[in-house]
Each structure stands twice: as C-alpha cells, then as structure tokens.
C-alpha cells in the first residue's frame, strides 16, 4: 500500500500549524520537518514559550494591551503622560508605535475595528471602556491611530463623532501612511512622522 498522508502525529502538527496566520500548507510542512530535525531541547524551549504566553500573558485591565499581571508595561509606567491617549486596533500596534519613540502618552486598545461583514459593531469593541476612561476629564487629547483603510477610517470617524460632545481634542494620524495600509507594517520613520504631523478631526 502506498502512503497518501503523513504519519498521524506529523499530520496533526501540520494541521495545527496551518491554522496559524501567514502559514500556508507548504510552510507548515517545512516547519514540521524542520522541527523533526531539531534537538529535543530546542523543541522543549519552543513548547515552553508557547505555553508561557498562554499561561502568563493577560489583558491589561485598563487599556486592553497585552500584560503580564493586571496592568501592562505602559500603564504601570508612572512617567507616561495620562493626558494623551492613543487609540489603536490591536496590541501589536502599541509595539509599532512604541518603536517610534515619538509617543509618551497612554494607549487604549479597541480589539478590532467596525466590521459589519464580520458582525463587529461598537459593542464588540472596547469602546464603552474607552468612554469610561474619558469621563473624569484627565485625558485632554485622543489620538485615533486606527489603520488607514476603509474599516479603520470608519472606526476613527465613528469615535470622532461620539467624542464631539465631551470636550476632548481629537486628532488623527497624519497622511504619509500609505492608504489602504496596515499600521504595524509601516516603517518607524513613516509612522513617527505620521505621529508628529497628526491633525485635528472635525466630527
């Protein structure tokens, strides 16, 4: 009899890998065979890292960034300016912005964007929590740093409208970010410039 699929455990591994973003069937196969040839020690280190992420990483109670403990690194840092709040889609956008060293305020992670096709409306995002944070008047400026694509722009417009009544300055990242693009993929210089040149939006 000839073989039509991989050994059971190998096939299981490939099936799991294929479910990861940016990994296709070919890539999954390559990774799986690479792991077969890797020392047990290194594979254990990888497995340990995977589980540690799951076991120890939490979501920040304040801003919904990834955290180890109740608060994320930014929220724990007393030197960060509480008057400026940058609203982003995902935790990875926080990393991208931190890399620019242009921003010294705090963050709020929405957990996505308005995307009716995927059933995502305001209630599915951390928008109510955002407005709760704005209620005590500490925040003076909100920077809307959602991606410059259709959904990101719509989300920024929605938030801009909702904030029009509460007397906080609302700015949007300046152009220079490629339209239709992804914030996390922008290089540091471009993203840094976009921050420096942010503009007020009129709701």
């Amino acid at each position: 009899m000839y073989q039509t699929s991989y050994e059971g455990v190998l096939q299981d591994l490939i099936d799991q890998l294929v479910r990861l973003p940016a990994v296709g069937p070919k890539g999954a196969q390559r990774i799986a065979y690479h792991l077969l040839e890797t020392d047990r020690e290194d594979v254990e280190a990888l497995a340990g890292a995977l589980l540690a992420v799951k076991d120890r990483l939490t979501v920040c109670e304040v801003c919904f960034n990834t955290a180890e403990g109740a608060l994320c690194r930014v929220c724990r840092d007393e030197t960060r300016d509480p008057a400026v709040l940058c609203v982003v889609e995902e935790p990875k956008d926080v990393i991208a912005i931190e890399r620019t060293r242009e921003f010294t305020g705090r963050y709020h992670v929405l957990g996505g964007v308005l995307d009716p096709m995927r059933g995502i409306g305001p209630d599915q995002l951390h928008i109510r929590e955002l407005f709760t944070r704005l209620a005590d008047g500490t925040v003076q400026e909100v920077i809307l740093a959602t991606d410059p694509n259709t959904e990101g722009e719509a989300t920024a417009a929605y938030l801009g409208r909702q904030m029009a009544t509460i007397g906080v300055a609302v700015t949007r990242l300046a152009s220079g970010l490629p339209m239709g693009g992804d914030l996390e993929l922008a290089d540091e210089v471009t993203l840094g410039r976009a921050f420096a040149g942010r503009r007020r939006i009129d709701a």
Binding site: L114, P116, M117, T150, A154, Y158, R161, Q162, G180
Partner: protein, 372 residues
C-alpha cells in the same frame, strides 16, 4: 505604445505562452475557441487590471490553478517591464521593472488600451452594469487614483449592506440605536467615495460626448442626434452638489433600505441613458444603429485616451468584423487604419478582416501561437 512581448502563465487556457508583437498591426487568426480572445484580453487587462468579459478574476486563472501571471514588455519612450500576478479573491501582485509596486494606481497608465469586442452590443442593449463598467474602465485609465476610490467604495457598500441586513434583524431598540449611529459613519463614506466616482464619471461622459457623436456620424455616414445622460439611482436632477444630493436622497430611502437590507443609491446603481434622435437607444434603436452606437462609444474612448500624453493607446479589435455589415465594417477599418500605434486584431478567418488592415499574421491553434 506597444506591448512587444507577452508571457502568460496559467492564464485562461494557456499553461505557458510567449508571443512577441511587432510594431503596427498584428492579426491573430484561428478557429473559434482556440484562445485568440484570451491573448488580447491579457493585453487589455494590463490597462485596467480588470477584464472586459468577467467581473470576477477567477475565470482568468487556468482551471485547477491558484493564480495566473501576465508578464509583459511595454515600449514607450523606453521599455518597461510590467508583470501582474492575478490572485482571485486577494490583491493582485504587481511588478514594474521587476520591482514590486504596492498600489495598482502606480502601475496604471503604463499600458492604455481600448478593446472592441462582440460583447460591446451590450453597451447599448444590455444591463446598466455594462455601461457602468465602460465608464469606470475609462475613468481609471484617465485618472488612476480612481482605482483606490472604487476599491474603497466597493468595500463600503459591502459593509453598509451587512449593517442594513443586521439592522433589519435586530429587535431591541438599544441595538437599533447603535446600528443607526454606525450607519451614519458608513453613510459619510458612501457619500465621500460615491460622490467622487459620480463626479469622475460625469467628467468622462462630458469628454466622450463630442467624440461619440462624431464617430457615430462617421459610422452611419450621416449626422444623428446622439445624447448621453447620466442617470443617478433615486436622485433625479443631478446637479453639481452630488454629495449634498446623495445625503438628502439617503434620508429618503432609509426606511426602504432597512427593510430590503441593500444600499439603494450610489454609483453602483447608476446608469447612462443613451438616446438616439430623441428615442432611448435601448428598446428603440435597430440592430445596426445599436452597433454603430456601441462602436462610436469605443472610438470615442480611443480619442479620449489619445489626448492623454505618452503615445497612442493600443487598439484591440476582437472578432468584431464578422458581426458588422459591409458599411460599418469598412468605416471601422478606416478608423483603425488611422492609428499610429499598436493594433491587435482577432478573427476566425482572414476573410473577416478588411483589406485596409494589413499586418503581421499569427495563427492560434489549441493554445499555441505561430507567426505566419
């Protein structure tokens, strides 16, 4: 302007094909179903990054394959390599001189082309979609920034329709309130992109009005009254303030949209009313008149693109002569013979090609092409 070399991989019926086109006119001959149209369709695709035959790129990819690749060399002032990898359902990958370009608009304009095809009769007799596609392909070629505007608009319509459908299903009033407030945001986008597209189409229509009437006169050998009017869905009396009118009209259709769960106005629902001597061409014009009008629209596009800088556009005549009577055939040949640029002609037999159009001959047979 000339596509001097075309290389197809898994495009339509071609697993792999290389063809080199000489300057001037090339005539592709061969029995039906052999892949003549597929070759010129690939050339035209380079001009708009869309097909004249299908709205969805899936049909362009050879059955059983994941993607198609068109590679080309384009001679202008200098030679440019323009390559497209067609990935149905995902963004195309474009390369100019082997360097990736992120946005389609940066690769548009390298090739400009006008294609005449048997399907063109649907410009006059067919659904509004055919006329919208005609305007949009011309708009994109004259103003490449519209590729991204149209992509944004399509996305907005899809999102907005989803929202309308879920609004129709929502029961609690709180739910409905949230949906309404997000709908306002999508309305803004709809108006922003929609009004931009309508303005662009109006401008294109304005530019082709004169040339269309002139070309019709040439084809029909007599002056006729040709009128083209943009008809905006649910928006009578379109004026300059398109955006403002759209906002007002959206208020009027709101309850109906919530019931039906679709966006009822905007450029995706608009049409062009073609009028010949005071009567709507659709329904009134004879077969011959309809053909004259369709050809006149294409000739007018050619004139408009010719006005743009960098060289004559590529003229593609795909199997049209067999459809036409003697007079229209000769007049069209005459117009084509006036081109100083590249002309690509396909026909089943050489007898279908008017004498005025001589050129280098190729024969196409079961997915292979040979010169001579």
């Amino acid at each position: 302007m000339r596509v001097s070399r075309l290389e197809l991989t898994d495009f339509r019926n071609y697993e792999h094909l290389v063809v080199e086109f000489p300057a001037g006119t090339s005539v592709l001959l061969g029995p039906n179903g052999q892949g003549k149209t597929n070759i010129v369709e690939a050339v035209a695709y380079l001009a708009t990054f869309s097909s004249h035959r299908v709205a969805n790129d899936t049909a362009l990819v050879r059955a059983g394959c994941d993607r198609a690749v068109i590679r080309s060399l384009v001679e202008n002032d200098r030679t440019i390599g323009l390559d497209v990898q067609i990935n149905p359902g995902r963004a195309n990958r474009l390369q100019v001189n082997r360097a990736p370009v992120r946005r389609a608009r940066d690769a548009l304009g390298i090739v400009r082309a006008v294609m005449f095809a048997p399907e063109d009769l649907s410009l006059v007799k067919g659904d509004p979609a055919a006329r919208r596609r005609f305007l949009d392909q011309l708009l994109v070629q004259t103003n490449p920034r519209y590729v991204s505007v149209m992509a944004d608009y399509d996305k907005t319509i899809k999102q907005r329709n989803s929202l309308l459908r879920s609004a129709a299903k929502s029961h609690s009033s709180l739910e409905r309130e949230t949906l309404q407030s997000t709908l306002d945001v999508w309305n803004d986008r709809l108006v922003q992109f929609g009004a931009d597209i309508v303005a662009g189409r109006l401008e294109v229509l304005d530019r082709i009005a004169g040339p269309t009437a002139d070309s019709y006169a040439l084809l029909a050998a007599a002056r006729n009254d040709v009128k083209m009017t943009y008809v905006a869905a649910r928006m009578p009396e379109l004026r300059d303030d398109v955006g403002q009118r759209m906002r007002e009209a959206l208020v009027n259709v709101r309850s109906e949209e919530l019931v039906r769960g679709v966006t009822l106005l905007g450029p995706h629902r608009d049409d062009v009313d073609l009028n010949l001597n005071g009567l709507p061409a659709r329904g009134y014009a004879s077969h011959g008149e309809s053909w004259s009008l369709a050809l006149a629209l294409r000739l007018a596009s050619y004139e408009v693109l010719r006005d743009e800088q960098s060289g004559e556009p590529i003229l593609i005549l795909d199997d049209v002569f067999a459809e036409l009577d003697q007079q229209r055939r000769e007049r069209l040949a005459q117009a084509a013979a006036g081109s100083h640029g590249q002309v690509l002609i396909t026909a089943a037999v050489s007898g279908d090609v008017p004498e005025a159009l001589s050129g280098v001959r190729f024969s196409v047979d079961s997915g292979a092409i040979v010169q001579g």
